[in-house]
C-alpha cells in the first residue's frame, strides 16, 4: 500500500495512505498517546519519551523525540483546531530543532475505503520557502546531520 506524497502547490503537501483497518482504529492511533508512541518515531534509533495530546478543539500537543544512541532530541508543539471523532483532525504544529520552524496547518481525514481506511493529510504553510524547509526537515539524513552539527557547537 504505497504512500503518496504530492507537492500539490508551492505551499501545500498532500499525503495519502491506505490502512487495512477501520477508520475508528486508524483515528485512535493518531490521538491516543500510548498508541502514537508505538509508531510516530521517524528513523530507527529514536524513541518518543513525551507524547501529550489533548484530543479536543483548543487542546495542546507536545511531542519529544530522543535519539537513544547520542541523546539528541527535538520536539513538536501544536494546537488542535477541530476534531471529528473517527473522521478528521485539523491542527497547527511546529518543530523545535531547537530553532522553531514556521507553523504548519495539517488537515487529516480518515475515510472508509473498501474494508480499510484512506487517510489523507494536507499540510499548508504560509510561503513556499517554509514548505521547502519543512520537506528538508522531514528528511532523515537532514535531521541526523543537524544533530551532529549541534553536538559540535559550544553549549548554549
Amino acid at each position: 500500500m504505497p504512500l503518496t506524497v504530492e507537492r500539490t502547490s508551492p505551499t501545500t503537501l498532500t499525503v495519502s495512505r491506505f490502512f487495512q483497518a477501520p477508520p475508528a482504529q486508524v483515528f485512535a492511533a493518531h490521538v491516543e498517546p500510548a498508541l502514537m508512541q508505538r509508531w510516530l518515531l521517524g528513523p530507527d534509533g529514536w524513541s518518543m519519551p513525551v507524547c501529550e495530546y489533548d484530543a479536543r478543539a483548543g487542546g495542546k500537543i507536545r511531542f519529544v523525540w530522543k535519539n537513544d544512541e547520542n541523546g539528541a532530541s527535538f520536539s513538536l508543539t501544536g494546537e488542535i483546531k477541530l476534531i471529528e471523532r473517527g473522521a478528521r483532525i485539523v491542527h497547527v504544529e511546529r518543530m523545535h530543532l531547537p530553532e522553531t520552524t514556521p507553523d504548519n496547518t495539517v488537515d487529516t481525514r480518515f475515510v472508509p475505503e473498501g474494508t480499510g481506511t484512506r487517510m489523507t493529510m494536507t499540510m499548508t504553510v504560509d510561503d513556499p520557502t517554509s514548505m521547502d524547509a519543512m520537506v528538508a526537515t522531514g528528511m532523515t539524513e537532514g535531521m541526523e546531520k543537524s544533530y551532529a552539527r549541534l553536538e559540535t557547537q559550544a553549549p548554549r
Binding site: 507537492r7 502547490s9 486508524v26 509508531w39 518515531l41 521517524g42 520537506v135
Partner: protein, 151 residues
C-alpha cells in the same frame, strides 16, 4: 553558476500548482495523447487546455512531436525526477512510521477480533503461592524497537 538546467524544481512546482495540469500529467503517464484527447475529461475550452500544455512544455515536463496535423504530447523523459528526488526522503521517513502503524493496527485488530476469553480457572499452581495469574499490559510509553534489518 551557469544557466539553470531546463527542468528545475521551481518551474516544476509552479507547473504542478494547478489541478488541471496535474491531471494532464497523470493522463500522460498512461501514454501519449493529442490536445483533443486531453480536453475530453475537462469542462474547459481547447485554448484553455493549450495554455496549460504550454506551461507544462516550458517547464520541461512534457514534449510534443509532429504527426501530420496532430501534435501528440508525452511526458518528457526524467521530467519529474527532481521533484521525486526532493520528496523521496520525506516519503521514506513517513513510510517507516506508517509501516509501524500497519503492524500496530494488526495488533489492535487482533485484540478486537479475539472472542472473549472464558475466565481462567482460579486454581493456583503450587509455585504461585495463592496469587492468581494476571496478564500484565505493557506499560504505556514503552516503545518496541523496530527490527534492525534494513527493509
Amino acid at each position: 553558476m551557469g544557466r539553470a538546467p531546463p527542468i528545475d524544481l521551481e518551474s516544476t512546482l509552479q507547473a504542478l500548482a494547478d489541478p488541471t495540469r496535474r491531471a494532464i500529467l497523470t493522463r500522460l503517464a498512461d501514454g501519449e495523447a493529442t490536445v483533443t484527447e486531453l480536453c475530453a475529461p475537462f469542462d474547459l475550452t481547447q485554448p484553455a487546455i493549450s495554455h496549460h500544455l504550454k506551461v507544462l512544455e516550458q517547464a520541461g515536463l512534457i514534449a510534443r512531436r509532429v504527426d501530420g496535423a496532430r501534435r501528440p504530447c508525452r511526458l518528457a523523459e526524467g521530467a519529474l525526477r527532481p521533484l521525486d528526488d526532493y520528496l523521496r526522503p520525506l516519503r521514506e521517513a513517513m513510510e517507516r512510521n506508517y509501516t509501524r502503524l500497519d503492524a500496530l493496527l494488526v495488533e489492535m485488530g487482533d485484540v478486537e477480533a479475539a472472542p472473549p476469553r472464558a475466565a481462567p480457572p482460579r486454581k493456583t499452581h503450587p509455585k504461585q503461592r495463592g496469587r492468581p495469574r494476571v496478564r500484565r499490559r505493557r506499560p504505556a510509553g514503552r516503545v518496541e524497537n523496530p527490527p534492525r534489518k534494513e527493509l
